[in-house]
Symmetry: C2
Amino acid sequence: MTDIAAAITEVKALLKNRLNTSKSVCDLHGQNETYFPKMIPDAVAFPESTLEVSEIVKICAKYQCPIIPWGVGTSLEGHALALHGGITLNMSEMSNIFDINSEDMFAIVQPGVTREILNKELRSTGLFFSVDPGANATLGGMAATRASGTTAVLYGTMRENVLAMEIVLADGRVIRTGTKAKKSSAGYDLNKLFVGSEGTLGIITELTVALKGQPEAISAAVCDFPTIDNAVDVVITAIQMGIPMARIELIDEISIRAINQYSKLEYPEKPHLFMEFHGSKSSVASQAESIANIAKDFNAGDFQWSTKPEDLNKLWSARYQAYYATKALFPNQIGMSTDICVPISKLAQAIKDTQNDLKEFNVIGSIIGHVGDGNYHTLLFSDPNNPEDLKLNKLLASRMAHRALDVGGTITGEHGIGIGKLNFMEQEHGESLSIMTDLKRLFDPQNIMNPGKMIDLDSSPKNY
Amino acid sequence: MTDIAAAITEVKALLKNRLNTSKSVCDLHGQNETYFPKMIPDAVAFPESTLEVSEIVKICAKYQCPIIPWGVGTSLEGHALALHGGITLNMSEMSNIFDINSEDMFAIVQPGVTREILNKELRSTGLFFSVDPGANATLGGMAATRASGTTAVLYGTMRENVLAMEIVLADGRVIRTGTKAKKSSAGYDLNKLFVGSEGTLGIITELTVALKGQPEAISAAVCDFPTIDNAVDVVITAIQMGIPMARIELIDEISIRAINQYSKLEYPEKPHLFMEFHGSKSSVASQAESIANIAKDFNAGDFQWSTKPEDLNKLWSARYQAYYATKALFPNQIGMSTDICVPISKLAQAIKDTQNDLKEFNVIGSIIGHVGDGNYHTLLFSDPNNPEDLKLNKLLASRMAHRALDVGGTITGEHGIGIGKLNFMEQEHGESLSIMTDLKRLFDPQNIMNPGKMIDLDSSPKNY
């Protein structure tokens, strides 16, 4: 029988004042950055070690108390909400960097380390951690949701960049996955099974992540196009020619307007590509030149490129601000960010279909894409005083997801499932979903590990 | 109760003359390329479709009959041997290429397609399939063993290059894993769980594999060094400087002697690096030049590089022949190829330790490494008339594996576990091995899928 109160009493005895049941702290951990209502935990634990996490899990297993891992709460699909109450594990006290190995290019960190903190520590080493989802998320949260972002096109997502992990299982056992070698053929790839498992199979208590060498030179380029089709065609051509792009971002005209207003810039209000190239001085110049030539063939406007750090900073800070800039363009509205990923030849049509939907359903929304990966986001707005508005947004998101599946893509490229995309899992996976459900039951027979996320063991209809 | 004869009768009714029980055919499928004794199946099936594979598996499930998938039999750890008899599935009749998608750069193939056949089909497209383990293995076999080889340092292993699969499970159900999009955060990564699972969780009946664009230019370089340390230091420095190498192979002096004799070449009998660079004409030239400069700092001998196809062919055919050339150097001996993978900073010491072992135990052996990945192979020889010799080889392989674990590496970088490395699984994985065992039991409760490989459900001591 579930007895959350009893679990809290025992965890309190273990953690003392690092187990918090105050309304304010619980409330904070029941919030999210998007459209979901508050879902508040009964307590928030701040463990300091793997051993403590293991002890907490053992107590929760005894009382069938839900456990919800929490990084910094930047998930966009409700991953860290306390859907069924229970104890939220705030991992901020586990934020040590244990090792930075320059020769073998990896770092060993606790899950509460954010990517910006790690990169700050790396500054003097000539190395950097490449995965960049925009938000200053924790590495534990990024691994749990298989995060990616702007640089994945060259350096890969968390799937490729988490080499090894330490995991606390649902019965409190501690296991290690992966190795520090670059590859292995020894056994089932448990490491990749836990990356992206959203806290539903176990809790990440340590990560070994790959580091990359700072390139000798970086160049950035920006270019506008009359249509999104033209911009996407440039990217497809560049990929087929093997031009290595470190970042290649599509920004639609609404986002450009938002960025211009928010950051006092003057980009033409047209679809843009923001690009970055990493390599030697000569290669980044020749890469930018190659792209400029391709862009000309596809009706490009003004093509600007630079290797000056101040230009790079201006460009990417504008890109990073797109989310908040667009929100600022539509104040007092609820923002909902949804993403899909498709084979790149299907990207232009997928975006056009979404643009048509926006018009047809008269919904305010902007589109931004990690276009080299075939991944794009739509930021949809709804009036908090009109619940029908949010329903319409969900309908549009659902249409995006289904169209992604129609062309061999996926219902989410990087945001994950959480509670927001549970309803599409069966359509993406078919019979494989029953295997995933078997796995969930094998690892977490009592359904205490972030219950209700990703795999829905309770089949009643949901309305998230 | 296991009833192999009954299973064969029913499969015979299904496949007619595509189920073969002749001694010669069964014998052929009981052989291997290395030191294991013959282990002969009771029958060999040649299915033509996923549906047939599913029907065969259902029959085998009914009679608890072992099923062993067979590509072309080039595994080096006994993966395809019929350890407990049963039916071997020869996948050669499932070798259609269903789709080559140039825009999205993937191919959809059946598991019996070999990598050379696929690359031949791709010739006119400007694309190629990058994973190159040396042997002309089938793509099904390569996915099952998580193969890699010479180009993994730039293009990744099968782990990175298998996008999606169709799998027949142990109860005959057919599932699909992965998507055609470049990335996904939707659910547990079943695709990566099946890549490298060695036929123990299900049978691969279709694969979607990533293709790469043919580079505009290719240059190759070759250079000798007084010591292996020097050669490895060049590679570490190049990686840290971010010089993208498409191939970087270490060949020890014995292998060089073998190659010289076998291919009538005249490389100095010293450790060598064989390298290849892919990119634009200017970048492959500058990459070769950068490496030449680094090599100078580490006592390099003659540094030769070329972009001429005939020079490239000569170099890589010499490299490919190393295995057979070295075997030819020691005729009438049993060859045993074993591999480990370590963090690259530990590679030189690991190789030195193995060289010392060879001397100390007076064993004939050569060393070749995919050195950019920290992965190396030792080819050990033993007298078939002296069983103590083979025992000594196994001892050396065991010492290599344990030293790999001591420095955070893995007991196999690319050969897999099969039956040859079962004994080291617990030392590599600890408590994680019990999770892998749980997974095996979940997917294959009757232990009919390639039984006895990778996960040992029967704990009696083994002497493979």
